[in-house]
């Protein structure tokens, strides 16, 4: 950690219309077309949802996985401000940007999955809201967190528009926003795991445990770092910038530490409950469990030595594999391990997938537009032609 003075964030510049943004645009339009059909004909018109699997990839993908992928901002802000690791400060803004969109879209995405969306405000309305419901906790915390994140990120916009007064005011409250921005995601990321507890024996013992909140929270923080590694590598390659190796290499070590904690909790719980025995039965659930476990363990090997962590390709791969692990944990616990009775099955329909792809496309497009036009990524000293390693 040699460099502690960081260059200020600056817009990347460049054209907004290119192959990537065009593909994103097409995906977004197809998603909207599917959504029009959904609002016209009901959820059954476009999804494969059924009463055995009432939640599909719009819930598990867009909300549960989408919000875990959006934990970069929370994970890095916690490292910088709570654990006082100021050297990672340049990573905060880009990570927060991705989080902002991940969460805002997860919040918006819920609306079109809701069967009676016009009543959505009931969830936060006294008289309707039910604090015993884990979903109430998730909804309240995510709503508040989206608000907090927009405020946390607002200096970027104020800076661009030259609203120094507003910028100063938000700056003064920033410590409180950071505090909230740490506690709120801890609450709802753990609750996304707790949501499954009421499913009881419908959920396979490999995933049904009172440790679910801890498993979901620790994995979300770990994935937050993985997403930052992944994103930094992709942004560097896409914008032909130099990779911030002096930050990412030590960050990957922090990620491995969290991953170690995660694996200790995950497998400790399986052994203590004796559920690990079911992992050796010839079932789809056991197979998927091992796939999930391999994806969680693999980054320990990919990034296992200082030499490996100094290689950007490994940072990218390690981050990506851990993101896949996070997807598998969530898909397994919400869908594969969920067995509601005989005769029910679910696999997302093409239109359903188009909507999920469209949601991620919105995030990518927004990231491109904002990083090119607003001060998010650290200013490059040399011309942007500098090819990344």
């Amino acid at each position: 950690m040699s460099a502690h003075v960081h260059v200020a964030p600056a817009p990347v510049g460049g054209r907004l219309l290119n192959a990537v943004s065009f593909v994103c645009g097409v995906l977004i339009l197809s998603a909207f077309a599917v959504l029009a059909l959904r609002f016209w004909g009901g959820l059954g018109a476009v999804t494969n949802l059924n009463d055995g699997y009432p939640w599909g990839i719009w819930v598990v993908g867009d909300v549960v996985i989408g919000s875990a992928f959006a934990c970069g901002g929370f994970s890095v802000a916690m490292l910088v401000y709570i654990f006082n690791r100021g050297e990672y400060h340049p990573l905060v803004r880009p990570a927060l940007l991705a989080s902002l969109f991940g969460y805002s879209l997860a919040g918006a995405g819920v609306i079109f999955d809701l069967g009676r969306y016009w009543n959505f405000w009931h969830i936060l309305w006294p008289g309707y809201a039910s604090p015993n419901s884990v979903m109430f906790e998730v909804a309240a915390c995510i709503s508040l967190y989206i608000l907090v994140m927009w405020l946390e990120f607002s200096p970027t916009f104020f800076e661009k528009f030259g609203w120094s007064n507003a910028q100063r005011k938000v700056g003064r409250a920033m410590f409180f926003l950071v505090g909230l921005g740490t506690v709120l995601p801890m609450m709802h990321q753990s609750s996304l795991g707790s949501m499954l507890i009421v499913f009881g024996t419908q959920l396979h013992p490999l995933w049904q445990t009172m440790a679910l909140p801890a498993i979901y929270l620790i994995s979300a923080i770990t994935i937050g770092y993985a997403v930052v590694l992944f994103e930094s590598c992709v942004a560097a390659a896409g914008y032909r910038r130099s990779i911030e190796m002096h930050l990412l290499t030590p960050l990957s070590k922090v990620m491995l530490g969290m991953l170690g904690l995660y694996l200790a909790i995950r497998f400790g719980d399986l052994v203590v409950r004796g559920a690990i025995a079911t992992a050796f039965e010839p079932t789809l659930q056991a197979f998927m469990f091992w796939l999930e476990s391999i994806a969680f363990v693999l980054p320990l090997w990919i990034l296992g030595t200082p030499a490996k962590r100094a290689n950007p390709a490994n940072l990218f791969t390690g981050g990506a594999v851990l993101m896949i692990a996070g997807i598998l944990l969530r898909v397994n616990s919400y869908l594969v391990g969920y067995q509601t009775g005989d005769g029910w099955s679910y696999f997302p329909s093409i239109p359903e997938m188009l909507v999920t792809f469209g949601m991620f496309a919105i995030e990518v497009l927004a990231y491109i537009v904002i990083t090119r036009r607003f001060p998010v990524l650290p200013r490059e000293d040399h011309a942007p032609a500098g090819q990344a390693a």
């Binding site: 009901g42 009676r116 979903m135 410590f175």
Partner: protein, 335 residues
Amino acid sequence: MNSRRDFLKCALAGGAAVAGAAASPAAQARGNADVSPDAVGLLFDSTLCIGCKACVAACKTANDLPLDINTSPDWPWDVPLDTTARTFNVIKVYRDGKATLKDAEQGGYAFMKSSCLHCVDPSCVSACPVSAMKKDPVTGIVGYDKDACIGCRYCVAACPFGIPKYDYDSPTGAIGKCELCRHRMQDGHYAACAEVCPTGATLFGKVSDLRAEAQRRLALKAGDTTTFPRGNLSAGDQPAWEGVVPAYVQHVYGEKEVGGTQMIKLAAVPFDKFGHKPLPERSFSSKSETLQHTLYGGLALPVVALGVMTFLAKRNMPKDDEPQAPHTDQQEGGR
């Protein structure tokens, strides 16, 4: 640089908070809910059911439910195969071999009613974020209010019996499930399925009476003669009839399952043959709510965490987050 020390301090504080929360569940833990003394329910006796499905038709009429064709389109029948958002009650059949003997496990058949069991401690009510699923504090009926419902389908996913169903074919779909004809009770009516049942296989009544009746039948000797009440057990509105005691399986389904249900079942064929999976006695909602109340009771833990986080953030906030000096970090060194 004392970041390592801070890290340890934080880790310790966090660990202590979690340990504190884990150590104090006794204060906030809740066991299974108790059944209300005036709770009402159903007793379904599989051995008395003749499969006439009068209850299925009566349920449709009483709840003003539309046609529900879920057989393949070229079949000229409208028989609902399972409960859906438009069918709240069906009679299913267990079959083995040639299925000639009624209520015999081998080579026989037996009927089973599928409808809401009105749990004493329902998962759907615990799951519902907007109080659209509510348990009546007196009758214990689990009712649904579509005007409150947001259509999240958490109840559908949570119910261990697969009862609340959502209407995926409607752009304004709602949940559908049996509400024990609570809308007919003001007029002195009760559950339509029990009202029309010709044999008393479906019997309405107070839960305490129904449980006593179930125990009475299990204590009888197979082959003896006894009387079987019909309609409303607690009111005695319909004449009882005399019949032969069947060879009951010694299990009142719904007496203990997930903390008990207000609809209970008797049969002469083991319940797993009807697809009734074994369920623990501890209700899933009590587990979920104990966890939530432990973590969030009085918002104590979140507020303490927020205090710690805000304090640390205030202390560690780099100067460059204040707008006057937006371009340098607080730490020294050069690049």
